[in-house]
């Protein structure tokens, strides 16, 4: 008998679905659906009470309509009615509707919670499972609040049915993920860990997901799971394929559970207990041995299941990174898979090898597969696999094979899929930089990159090559020669023109001796590309021209002629026009000395993390580039930059990361020469803004009851603030907005607590963001101070502000009934636990405003607690790392006298006092 009988459906539903399927056009379908929606709506709204069957039918129709992509905004009430029914069919469809069309309407959630509560206590396993499913599917905070206490009890109770235990484990996991603060494992920890020993494999399967997640968050508390997991794994691995009956999948005993056990072990270092470790190594060896045995079945499912375990075992071996013997076996196994006929296995082998390549024991072993991997990159039909091959080449690259790998990647780029080109370009650029021994190779590689895949070369890549050329004088001549040759090509990419213009502008003199690349030839070559380029490139070329005038006085008249032409000096683009006018003027009035100073060669760039690496990290997300690799990149990058120690301190060079060429920041000469700084400030900046400008500072007390707003504003700078708090942790975003049109340089902020540095430069009109992570260690009364310094024009600006971090930000609201409130109030009766203030109202005594402020404070506002409805009472717990401080508050307004009496009681005297002070300023 089929488990689902097909005869017993709903006729109306079947007819409706057939109608939809017979619709000839999208319009007809929409029309039919709208008709049905109207029909259902009227049925739901109608006076006639619907029976369970009709409700179920309509809800099914809504589900179907939803699947087709139409918005469903009603029917939730009917679904709630259904799930409160005692009939299984109705209950089930009601829960299904709610799970698929989750709605955050809290009124509704309250009703649903009620029904769930009933079902959980019904002792009917089917109903309990339905309820647990619903919680796991919706997983909202309200549900966590209602059930986080109950579910662990169901999970570990001795009389709970296995199927309910399974559901309870995953339900708890879901709640833990959404609201970890509400799920307190404490007393349950050891009983949950012991579920690994449960008789029922299904219970273990569900529980292991829960335990893995909990172990990741609290490894120490769950440490005992390691030995239990090892013994469970060992029992499975050594069992015959018939021992586990239904959990044997195509002759492999419990593959899913084995994978999960191996994943759990990856949360921990190798076991310290010798016996446990021995047993585990034995398991891993058995798994590796089984891979060499002949298959028990020819079905792909059999090999899939077997290899799923094998790959997890290899991951664990790589994770431990301590057993050279196992590592070599793992590497050999993966080597076999690299040439396997199953594409899936080749894909996974390449992926695993990538992690293996970073282990010092196996790096060399991985390198022996280089030819196979290169071949995969060239011949695989599947782009997913080719991408993994490229990743692996990147991971196995070191000094010994860098030239080969970079060459292969470059040649692959010519035919690479568009989807992975940009990433490939970044990888080539990074490898070339990281492993460059001679810089002519590096320059060649990058120029090749621009030639082959110019469109995918991001700004970071060509910025970087220029930085390196500027910082290394031994490569400058070669670079000038190479770009000159590259520019000879009839069609060359705009990025090539940029690099060419910049390098010839700086170092064209190094090749000017050769008549084939005389100054005028160089200029004509560059200028022949001018008209095909975009505005930013043209702007860059104009700067190169003015540099030519300085380098080669003989080109002066030719270049002045070009600058003077209408197409430059009257160009419709303001930037180009301005440059043409200014450069023309500069070249005609400035003496050669001034010209030489203003147009001096660029100073070396300050050393920093390669921006390309940062870009790749951003693209691939954290984790894609290992920390290890990053540090290495930094070190190597430092070496690269090391050549340039010729004067030029970083404070006077224009900020490197924001704008390498000063292209976007007005005329580049402003930024170009530090020695001419004072002169140029007079010319180009609107001088005379200094710190006696009146400003608007917003007192920190305004932020007691709110988290977002403008913290500070004057004519120059606006500081916005956005913050969020959770338990004893907070995160604050500060937005520094430059209100002027001129950049702020050497912008620094210092805080008497730890903070990430902020971008040192803010462009005119731009905004930068700073994130501050806050942890409340213990209660406090002084807010952290933020000191801001920057240069605007020539003048140093200095500001000190109080950050609006106050103790109340770490409140967790606590709901309690009147009875509880007064009981706790009485418990806190020591004189120093109470702080009281009577003060005059500063604002109108509007109830709604007061309520909003009290809510903003972070405590729970308790209704119907105080016998006098005019009064407000609140309760909350302040979360600090050291302790939790329960606090109660009572505010008694006296409208006639326009006075308030505020009473705060908490378990800590300093907290009561501080809260009272803070709040007295608010009303």
């Amino acid at each position: 008998m089929p488990a689902v009988s097909k005869g017993d459906g709903m006729r109306g539903l079947a007819v409706f679905i057939s109608d939809i399927r017979n619709c000839k056009s999208k319009e007809a379908e929409i029309k039919r659906i709208n008709k049905e929606l109207a029909n259902i709506r009227s049925k739901f709204k109608g006076d006639k009470a619907l029976d369970g069957y009709s409700k179920k039918k309509y809800v099914c129709k809504l589900l179907f309509i939803f699947l087709l992509g139409h918005d469903i905004d009603f029917g939730h009430m009917e679904a709630v009615n259904l799930l409160s029914s005692n009939k299984y069919t109705e209950k089930q469809i009601g829960y299904l509707f709610i799970s698929v069309l989750v709605n955050s309407n809290s009124e509704l959630i309250r009703l649903i919670n009620n029904a769930i509560k009933n079902d959980l206590s019904s002792r009917n396993p089917t109903f309990m499972c339905l309820a647990l499913h619903c919680i796991a599917n919706v997983g909202s905070r309200e549900m966590a609040e209602a059930f986080a206490g109950e579910i662990p009890r169901i999970l570990v109770a001795g009389d709970t049915m296995d199927s309910v235990k399974q559901s309870a484990a995953l339900c708890l996991l879901r709640l833990y993920k959404t609201s970890p603060d509400l799920v307190l494992m404490g007393e349950w920890t050891s009983r949950v860990v012991h579920l690994l020993n449960d008789q029922h494999m299904g219970v273990v399967t569900a529980a292991i997901s829960l335990i893995t997640c909990l172990s990741q968050k609290n490894p120490d508390e769950f440490k005992t799971c390691v030995s239990l997991a090892v013994s469970r794994l060992s029992r499975i691995v050594s069992s015959a394929s018939t021992d586990l009956q239904d959990y044997t999948y195509y002759f492999v005993p419990a593959p899913w559970l084995s994978c999960k056990l191996l994943r759990l072990l990856q949360c921990y270092p190798p076991p310290e207990d010798g016996a446990v470790k021995g047993r585990l190594v034995e398991c891993l060896e058995t798994i590796l041995n089984k891979a060499q045995e002949p298959p028990k079945s020819k079905k792909v499912q059999h090999s899939n299941a077997k290899n799923a375990i094998l790959f997890e075992a290899i991951s664990l071996i790589i994770h431990y990174d301590s057993e050279p013997n196992l590592l070599v076996r793992a590497c050999n196994q993966l080597g076999q898979f690299l040439q396997h006929r199953e594409t899936n296995l080749r894909y996974l082998a390449l992926e695993s090898m990538c992690t293996l390549a970073s282990s010092e024991f196996s790096h060399e072993a991985v390198k022996t597969h280089i030819e196979t991997v290169i071949n995969a990159l060239k011949t695989e039909r599947d782009v997913s696999v080719r991408q993994r091959a490229a990743d692996l080449l990147y991971a196995m690259c070191d000094r010994s094979n860098a030239k080969q790998i970079v060459a292969e990647m470059l040649s692959y780029l010519e035919t690479a899929d568009y989807s992975i080109r940009e990433e490939m370009v970044l990888k080539v650029a990074i490898l070339a930089e990281k492993y460059a021994v001679d810089y002519s190779w590096y320059v060649d590689t990058i120029l090749n990159l621009i030639r082959i895949a110019g469109d995918y070369v991001s700004e970071e890549v060509w910025y970087r090559v220029i930085q390196i050329v500027i910082n290394r004088d031994d490569v400058q001549g070669y670079a000038a020669k190479t770009v000159f040759e590259a520019l000879q090509a009839p069609a060359c990419h705009e990025n090539m023109v940029k690099v060419g213009g910049y390098i010839l502008g700086e170092f064209g003199n190094l090749i000017a001796g050769d008549p084939r690349s005389s100054p005028l030839v160089q200029f004509n070559l560059l200028h022949s590309k001018f008209h095909l380029c975009s505005v930013p490139t043209r702007a860059l070329l104009l700067s190169a021209y003015i540099k030519f005038i300085n380098l080669f006085p003989e080109t002066k008249s030719t270049i002045q002629e070009v600058l003077r032409s209408d197409s430059q000096i009257r160009n419709s683009d303001v930037e180009l026009q301005q440059r043409a006018v200014e450069y023309l003027k500069l070249s005609s009035i400035a003496s050669t000395d001034v010209l030489a100073t203003v147009l001096e060669e660029m100073p070396p760039f300050p050393e920093r993390e390669s921006s390309i690496l940062a870009k790749l990290k951003k693209k691939k997300g954290p984790g894609a580039v290992s920390v290890n690799e990053l540090e290495e990149g930094k070190r190597e990058g430092g070496e690269l930059n090391g050549g340039g120690e010729r004067g030029g301190d970083s404070s006077s060079t224009p900020s490197p990361s924001a704008d390498l060429l000063g292209l976007r920041a007005g005329p580049p000469v402003t930024a170009a020469a530090p020695s001419a700084g004072s002169l140029l400030v007079d010319v180009f900046s609107e001088a005379g803004v200094n710190d006696d400008v009146p400003f608007l500072a917003v007192p920190a007390c305004l932020f007691v009851c709110k988290n977002n707003g403008v913290l500070f504003e004057n004519q120059l700078l606006q500081i916005g603030i956005k913050s969020e708090y959770r338990q004893n942790l907070g995160r604050m975003y500060l937005f520094y907005g430059n209100k002027t049109s001129v950049q702020f340089v050497t912008f620094t902020t210092t805080l008497n607590v730890q903070a990430k540095p902020v971008e040192p430069l803010i462009e005119g009109g731009a905004q930068v963001q700073q994130v501050i992570n806050i942890e409340c260690l213990t209660d406090f009364s002084d807010a952290p101070l933020l000191n801001i310094k920057f240069r605007y024009g020539g003048a140093l600006q200095n500001l000190t502000l109080k950050l609006p971090v106050t103790i109340n930000k770490f409140f967790q609201p606590t709901e309690m009934a009147s009875h509880d409130f007064f009981q706790r109030w009485k418990q806190l009766s020591l004189p120093q636990q109470e702080a009281q203030k009577i003060f005059k109202a500063n604002h109108a005594m509007d109830t709604e405003v007061l309520k909003a402020k009290l809510l903003g404070l972070g405590m729970a506002l308790l209704e119907n607690v105080d016998p006098n409805p005019e009064n407000f009472v609140c309760a909350g717990v302040i979360q600090t790392k050291a302790q939790q401080v329960g606090s109660l508050l009572r505010l008694e307004p006296n409208a006639q006298a326009q006075m308030y009496r505020l009473t705060v009681r908490s378990s800590k005297d300093t907290v009561s006092k501080r809260l009272c002070e803070l709040l007295a300023e608010q009303f």
């Binding site: 079947a14 007819v15 079905k299 899936n344």
Partner: protein, 175 residues
């Protein structure tokens, strides 16, 4: 964790979708379309894994899929899941559907969407795997069927005639 389970046919018509993270209805539809676009352009015999579309988290997530006759079964998972394990899970799901519906075909999914959801709920809950043992799953589904039987009257429909006209069964491809 499993982020989403999508079933659509060769033309991209969704036949079932289940998301284990909250998205707006609009985004859900876009994810289905994007996923169909990514998966359907792939040849047969290439590997069963690819990086997720941008809407569902890009390269953080993987799409693991199988193609059975007219239907694609796609699981979108994060890096904590074993790729081959998920392939097995898809197989268990399809084999279970096949047993529950006796030679399952696309029409079964269309007309019994609620049942498909119920069967899936016996395997996956909140994005985590609840049970992988097929006979256990079927026992649960059968028990539900019995309860249903005892509660509702049997009605017969046009369903059967329609079902006979459906030619393409994908069950032949299952094993």
């Amino acid at each position: 964790m499993i982020k989403a389970i999508l079933i659509f046919n060769n033309h991209g018509k969704p036949r079932m979708s289940k998301f284990y993270e909250h998205y707006t209805e609009d985004t859900e539809q876009q994810i289905i379309r994007e996923t169909f676009h990514l998966v359907s352009k792939r040849d047969e015999n290439v590997c069963n894994f690819l990086e997720g579309g941008l809407l569902i988290g890009g390269s953080e997530n993987k799409l693991i899929y199988r193609h059975y006759a007219t239907l694609y079964f796609v699981f979108c998972v994060d890096s904590s899941e074993s790729e081959l394990g998920i392939l097995d899970l898809i197989q268990v799901f399809v084999e279970t559907l096949d047993k529950c519906f006796e030679n399952v075909c696309e029409l079964d999914l269309i007309f019994h969407l609620d049942k498909v959801h119920n069967i899936l709920a016996e395997m996956v809950m909140g994005g985590m795997v609840l049970e992988t043992n097929m006979s256990e799953i079927i026992t649960q589904v059968e028990a539900q069927g019995k309860m249903e039987k005892s509660e509702t009257l049997t009605l017969l429909f046009i369903w059967q005639s329609m079902r006979q006209s459906q030619a393409s069964r994908f069950s032949s491809k299952i094993s």
